[in-house]
């Protein structure tokens, strides 16, 4: 059932997107398209758990209101929610026999034209972070080897998400470093300004600025920035009486 000849291309393409100018939304979108294509499923989509453990739709192989509705229904019930809760893949689930398991989801999926549904967990260590969802228009069965390959594609989605998180974390730390550096510099500049304005040394200037910030419930770095860029802002600090 899996188009093995296409699979190698998919892996190469995915590896490419992991490196340069990585955009996680693009990446997950193309991954769901490839998953649908190689597995011969009619549609594929991806749901991720938010920080509160609530599933949220993030990407699918095609844009369709009806499909979107099917993904969103699974915030409450359906194969993705089951898969997310148990960490076990839901494979080859015949929708015509799933009315009891998913009373809301199963009839709606049949209405849209699907016969069977599948969900594969996105696993990181012992945590499930989301699920890869596939819909088929027939009841054709995925063989165990097919299941392993689709699970591989779900794992690639996980790797992509982790990669994005690592980059974002490092980016945030770098910005924090840059802003800490900036405020450190601004405070020194402001010490110099106040020292000269009041004819005091830089330590006394610092004390003066810190006391002013505390008294007025301002952040020290904000006061320093005002002293340097807009001396009229705090006249009681920047003018001599």
């Amino acid at each position: 059932m899996i188009a093995v000849d296409r699979l190698a291309e998919v892996f190469v393409e995915v590896a490419d997107t992991l490196v340069d100018d990585f955009d996680v939304v693009d990446f997950l979108g193309s991954l769901t398209r490839h998953t649908a294509e190689v597995s011969d499923a009619a549609s594929a989509g991806l749901l991720l758990a938010d920080p509160h453990g609530q599933l949220q739709y993030v990407a699918s192989s095609q844009e369709s209101v009806k499909l979107l509705e099917l993904f969103q229904l699974q915030y409450r019930e359906g194969p993705c929610l089951d898969c997310y809760r148990t960490g076990v893949a839901v494979v080859n689930s015949d929708l015509h026999h799933a009315g009891q398991r998913w009373p809301l989801f199963a009839p709606r999926a049949i209405e849209v034209g699907f016969q069977s549904v599948h969900a594969f967990p996105l696993r990181h260590r012992h945590k499930v972070i989301g699920a890869l969802n596939l819909f088929s228009t027939d009841t054709g069965m995925f063989a165990p080897t097919d299941v392993r390959i689709i699970q591989c594609l779900a794992d690639i989605a996980t790797i992509g998400l982790l990669q994005e998180r690592i980059i974002r974390d490092a980016e945030i730390l770098t910005e924090q470093l840059q802003s800490a550096l900036n405020s450190r510099i601004t405070i020194e500049q402001a010490k110099g300004v106040l020292a000269r304005t009041h004819g005091i040394d830089v330590d006394a200037a610092f004390t003066k600025m810190r006391d002013f910030a505390r008294r007025n419930h301002h952040r020290l770095s904000d006061v320093a920035r005002a002293v340097v860029t807009d001396p009229t802002r705090h006249p009681e600090l920047t003018t001599t009486l």
């Binding site: 980059i167 924090q176 470093l177 840059q178 550096l181 450190r184 020194e188 110099g192 300004v193």
Partner: protein
């Protein structure tokens, strides 16, 4: 990805192998200094240094270097307000100058001759950045002219990534809006420059950016380093006076 990981591991190994204090000891700055020494050795360069910069091109300072001369060379860029390190930071790409004597002066009229006086012919600067955020540059100095071989170029990029990682690890330990104490120590002699900048702003009644330009102009004319001049201004022994216009 695998080869990237292998290159990072090899660079880390080279840093660990540097003689001196045990690799695990010390904080951000010590690790960066070892990185500079290891890189210098690996590329047969004459030195290397790491500087932090800020967006307005007035701030930052050298935080680590392989040796005394590289410290002077890093400082030079802050005194003059120009150089490969500044360009690499601003452009977010490597700045490669294999021969300062040939083209350098057109690029950096102040920096190029001054760096040559310190025995540098080739200089290669790599931005310290991750995603959209950037914070400084890694500079490599060579006494002989000539380009970096592709292999050496790859190695330099890996070391720049590693330097960025050492800095972000340090920031992760320091907490959200704090500046890590050892970075603060490393920048200690720069802090007087910023105090002096604030003083010049008042003395000359100019904006903070203009104050740095005046300070630099004075240093250039007096052929002195900016930290020496700053020290005198902060101590009250030197006051820049307004031009009579």
């Amino acid at each position: 990805m695998n080869s990237y990981r292998a290159r990072m591991a090899r660079a880390n190994q080279l840093i660990d192998d540097e003689p001196g204090t045990a690799a695990s000891a010390g904080g951000t700055i010590l690790r960066l200094e070892r990185l500079c020494s290891a890189l210098t050795r690996a590329l047969s360069a004459s030195g290397a240094g790491v500087s932090l910069l800020t967006d307005d091109n007035h701030g930052g300072g050298m935080v680590a270097a392989s040796d005394a001369r590289s410290r002077v060379l890093e400082e030079l860029q802050f005194t003059l307000g120009e150089g490969p390190c500044v360009d690499a930071y601003v452009s977010r790409r490597p700045v490669l100058e294999p021969d300062l004597r040939a083209r350098g002066s057109r690029r950096w009229p102040g920096y190029a001759p001054a760096a040559q006086q310190h025995g540098v012919r080739g200089v290669f600067a790599f931005p310290l950045q991750v995603g959209a955020a950037h914070v400084g540059a890694l500079d490599i100095y060579r006494a002989e002219p000539g380009s970096l071989a592709p292999d050496a170029l790859g190695q330099a990029c890996t070391f720049a990534d590693l330097a960025m990682r050492i800095l972000t690890d340090g920031q992760a330990r320091a907490g959200t809006s704090q500046f890590s104490p050892d970075l603060d120590d490393a920048l200690a002699n720069r802090l007087e420059v910023y105090q002096a900048q604030g003083m010049v702003m008042v003395d000359l009644d100019v904006g903070i950016g203009e104050a740095m330009a005046r300070l630099r102009a004075h240093c250039f004319a007096a052929e002195r380093t900016i930290s020496d001049v700053a020290k005198e201004i902060v101590a009250g022994r030197l006051v820049l006076v307004r031009d009579k216009t």
